[in-house]
């Protein structure tokens, strides 16, 4: 019985478990965005929703905040904490969310 279950476990790991989990783990920093930028719909919020937005647009905004060319209240301070690679990964993940 034990051996049988372990075998199922291994098969499961190979068959579906790994890709599923990997896909659902947000890249570093990405999950924090939804503290202010709603994951669902919040009526009449002045803060834009980011899920499903174009990754290039998110990247352009973040690099603009970071170099100061795009003014903001708080995003100028937050964008400075991320490298291009990190921003690209975050933008791609946000764009892929529904």
């Amino acid at each position: 019985m034990k051996a049988f279950c372990v075998a199922i476990g291994i098969a499961t790991a190979v068959a579906w478990s790994s890709p599923l989990l990997a896909a659902s783990i947000p890249p570093p920093g990405a999950a924090a965005c939804s503290g202010c930028h709603a994951a669902g719909t919040v009526p009449a919020s002045p803060v834009s929703r980011l899920y499903g937005r174009d990754a290039g647009d998110i990247m352009t905004a973040m690099t603009g905040f970071r170099d100061g060319s795009l003014p903001a209240t708080v995003m100028t301070r937050i964008a400075k904490g991320f490298s291009d690679d990190e921003l690209r990964a975050i933008a791609a993940w946000l764009a892929a969310q529904k």
Partner: protein
């Protein structure tokens, strides 16, 4: 979930580990299919984490242990004290969290057996776990301030846990005569919500200026500097000239004891008898963390900043106000940010992989008056076993900006509360 089930399962995992290791496969997949995660504490940290775990891996059995049926949020509760908001607007339930597949155990956790991996509940039953997440918030250290205890708090409210205490402080302000003295006693670091006492001073002053303009407010502080200090002090001068006096540690601001019979706060430099005394006592991690063996001699919980796992209690992760998070302040935003990163780490560990180092964000808004807000923000990453500021990022709102900038930050503050409470409870 009985003891027999738990024991058989643990033996089973042991047998599986040996076999799987021999085959050079990771253990996890099987564990993942039925792994049990218990989360203690239904605030911004715990409720966020329970939800995030279920979103990342729907197969996890996630139980949220929280005795209160209604959560009363601390952020924005200073508005309730100032009469700008109702307490009901601060309150949220757990129905939607339960509907998402999280089992909500509406009971207090009374003890943790870290070796047996069980959580004892108030009704005498217990929950077995593979991984435990603690988000117990703070306990008030009544013993640390002579004269102050639960009975004294009914006379000199702390209002540092939102609910009845918030309403009590509100009622006392309403009952106070014009010309009265309000005193806020602030503890040394670390404590929940570092800018909170100063925002409270602003919003109480807003109420006094509007309704009782001859009144005064004194802040007795056990520190010489505080969060967003320049922004607060500028706002006091601009909005409430002559009304707020801040007494720092070096000016004799540290309150050594209180006398609730006379509403007196005693410092090395003299006594202050207040009409309304708001005493915010020193704090520590919620007591259940000590039962788990997760607190150190500071009363807080040391963690690995990559996994949030306790440095002293294996398989137990600590998030939110209770953990020692280095540069990250004890805020609702921090707790929510940590909760989501912790959920990723726990799911990854259960899957037998190594979690990636997280990157966390905090943004804390304070209101100096309705329509007048400012913020402190930070980006954090693990460094030397703690969370450290990413250099060059973060900081406070600029000092010299037009009022429109403050108005926008006040709007964003309101939006933040609506958004985060929807994410956690909605």
């Amino acid at each position: 979930m009985g003891i027999n089930h738990r024991m058989s399962r643990r033996e089973f995992v042991g047998a599986g580990a040996a076999t799987v290791t021999a085959l050079a496969f990771p253990l996890p997949a099987f564990a993942q299919a039925a792994a049990r995660v218990v989360v203690i504490g239904g605030g911004f940290g715990g409720a966020s984490c329970a939800r995030a775990l279920k979103q990342i891996e729907p197969k996890l059995q996630v139980t949220l242990v929280e005795p209160n049926r209604t959560f009363t949020a601390c952020p924005f509760s200073n508005n309730v004290i100032a009469g700008l908001r109702s307490l009901e607007e601060q309150q949220f339930g757990y129905d939607k969290i339960a509907a998402g597949g999280v089992t909500v155990a509406a009971q207090a956790a009374t003890a943790i057996d870290a070796k047996a991996r069980t959580v004892g509940l108030a009704d005498g039953t217990s929950l077995a776990y593979d991984r435990l997440v603690l988000s117990p918030g703070v306990d008030l250290r009544f013993e640390a301030l002579p004269g102050y205890d639960e009975a004294a708090a009914a006379k000199m409210p702390h209002a540092w846990k939102a609910g009845e205490q918030t309403l009590l402080l509100r009622k006392q302000l309403e009952a106070m005569d014009d010309g009265g003295l309000v005193v806020i006693a602030v503890p040394a670091n670390p404590f929940r919500c570092p800018p909170g006492p100063y925002e409270r001073a602003c919003l109480i002053a807003h109420y006094l200026k509007t309704k009782k303009p001859r009144s005064k407010l004194i802040i007795l502080d056990a520190k010489d500097t505080f969060s967003k200090q320049r922004l607060f002090q500028n706002a006091w001068k601009e909005l409430y000239p002559g009304m707020i006096e801040w007494v720092s540690l070096s000016q004799g601001g540290k309150v050594n004891s209180v006398d609730p019979a006379t509403n007196t706060l005693i410092t090395d430099f003299g006594n202050h008898t207040a009409q309304v005394a708001n005493v915010i006592p020193p704090q520590r991690a919620g007591r259940i963390a000590t039962s788990a063996g997760a607190t150190d001699n500071t009363g807080w919980c040391a963690i690995d900043p990559v996994t949030f796992e306790s440095k002293s209690a294996p398989n137990i992760h600590v998030i939110g106000d209770a953990c020692i998070a280095g540069s990250m302040p004890k805020s609702a935003f921090s707790a929510n940010s940590q909760a989501k990163a912790c959920a990723s780490a726990v799911a990854t560990l259960i899957a037998g992989r190594t979690p990636e180092a997280p990157k966390l964000i905090n943004t804390c808004y304070s209101l100096a008056a309705p329509g007048y807000g400012f913020s402190v923000a930070g980006v954090y990453q693990p460094k030397n076993g703690l969370f450290a500021d990413v250099e060059g990022a973060g900081g406070v709102s600029p000092a010299d900006v037009p009022r429109d900038f403050r108005a926008r930050e006040a709007d964003y503050a309101n939006s933040w509360f609506a958004t985060i409470t929807a994410e956690v409870f909605g």
